[in-house]
């Protein structure tokens, strides 16, 4: 009998290791961003509303903001648009849009037709800015704190649930902490 004990023990150990691995594995298909806890990329980009003006990360220092990567070609972006409008109406944190590899005219149409939840929208025709943020599929949304550090990233369409349970507590929790 004892000859089976060792393999059995090894099997049990392996089972425990794998069980822990499965339990701790992040949601399938979602890749943790190396940007979390790091300074958000600095940017100076043309403004969608007026390409002669610029959207600058420096102007956002000292404030919370959501950085939302979208495009009119992106289905999930239409899906999340209503949530973005709600977030905008809540007025807790401004949303900066990054119009990723898109046509300016179509993007402006989209905003007139569906409503504009953004404080400003930067355009990224070349796709280089999206790469700086490690974006691999729109929509993606980053929460940046007043120190300019990325504290949260959501991949896929933003839902009211994500807003109330992931984003809002982070912002209001920090605001309550700093005012007391």
């Amino acid at each position: 009998m004892t000859r089976f004990l060792l393999p059995l023990g090894i099997f049990a150990l392996l089972a425990v290791v794998l069980a822990i691995g499965i339990r701790h594995s992040p949601e399938k298909g979602v890749i943790a961003s190396p940007l979390l806890g790091k300074p958000a990329p600095a940017f100076v980009l043309p403004d969608l509303a007026d390409p002669a003006r610029q959207v600058r990360s420096d102007d956002l220092k000292g404030r919370w903001y959501l950085f939302n990567v979208w495009g009119t070609w992106c289905g999930g972006c239409r899906e999340e648009h209503e949530t973005l409008l709600q977030v905008h109406r809540a007025g807790v944190v401004p949303i900066i849009g990054l119009d990723w590899k898109d046509d300016d005219g179509q993007a402006l149409n989209w905003l007139t037709q569906l409503g504009n939840p953004y404080q400003s929208v930067a355009t990224d025709h070349s796709g280089r800015e999206a790469i700086e943020w490690g974006v691999y599929g729109a929509p993606e949304t980053f929460l940046v704190n007043p120190q300019g550090v990325v504290v949260y990233k959501h991949i896929g369409a933003l839902t009211p649930d994500t807003w109330t349970h992931e984003i809002l507590p982070r912002v209001s929790g920090a605001k309550a902490g700093s005012s007391s």
């Binding site: 890749i31 190396p34 590899k101 796709g127 790469i131 700086e132 490690g134 691999y136 599929g137």
Partner: protein, 148 residues
């Protein structure tokens, strides 16, 4: 059967090789053969984040093209392969590297095969030694020994 199987394998390999060159998604050419070789190596060992099981070199999606352009530009700017890999993983994480880097965090992963091989060799050695001692005069199948 054997020759037929061999022919089939060779034919498949040839077909794959031909189709890879004939339908390559990436027509990029760099000015020197050395740069071109590094470009090919890098784009084959970096993952297309959108399709995830394809390399940058093989993927037709927009983001892969953007990342290939990034590799090309950085090679032309004189960056080393390691600098380019580090640049990529700073943005997309180590997941973008098909060939993972050695780090303390994954050291046990790298060590495990060696340890397992050692354990296997030990077990193998013990089994062979035990059974070798049974052989003389014993013509019964060895498997039945365990039942006694």
């Amino acid at each position: 059967m054997r020759p037929l199987a061999t022919v089939l394998i060779i034919a498949t390999a040839l077909a794959v090789a031909v189709s890879r060159t004939a339908f390559a998604v990436d027509p990029t050419e760099l000015p020197t053969p050395a740069l071109q070789a590094r470009y090919l190596a890098l784009t084959h060992e970096l993952r297309c984040m959108q399709c995830q099981n394809e390399a940058l070199a093989d993927s037709p999606v927009g983001l892969a093209a953007d990342l290939r352009r990034e590799v090309r530009d950085q090679l032309l700017a004189g960056k080393t392969d390691d600098q380019i890999r580090a640049w990529m993983s700073a943005r997309y994480g180590d997941f973008i590297l098909f060939r993972p880097r050695y780090s303390l965090r994954n050291a046990w992963l790298w060590g495990a095969p060696g340890v397992l091989l050692l354990i296997g060799a030990l077990v193998c050695w013990r089994v062979v030694r035990n059974r070798a001692s049974l052989l003389p005069g014993d013509q019964e199948p060895v498997e039945e020994d365990g039942a006694r």
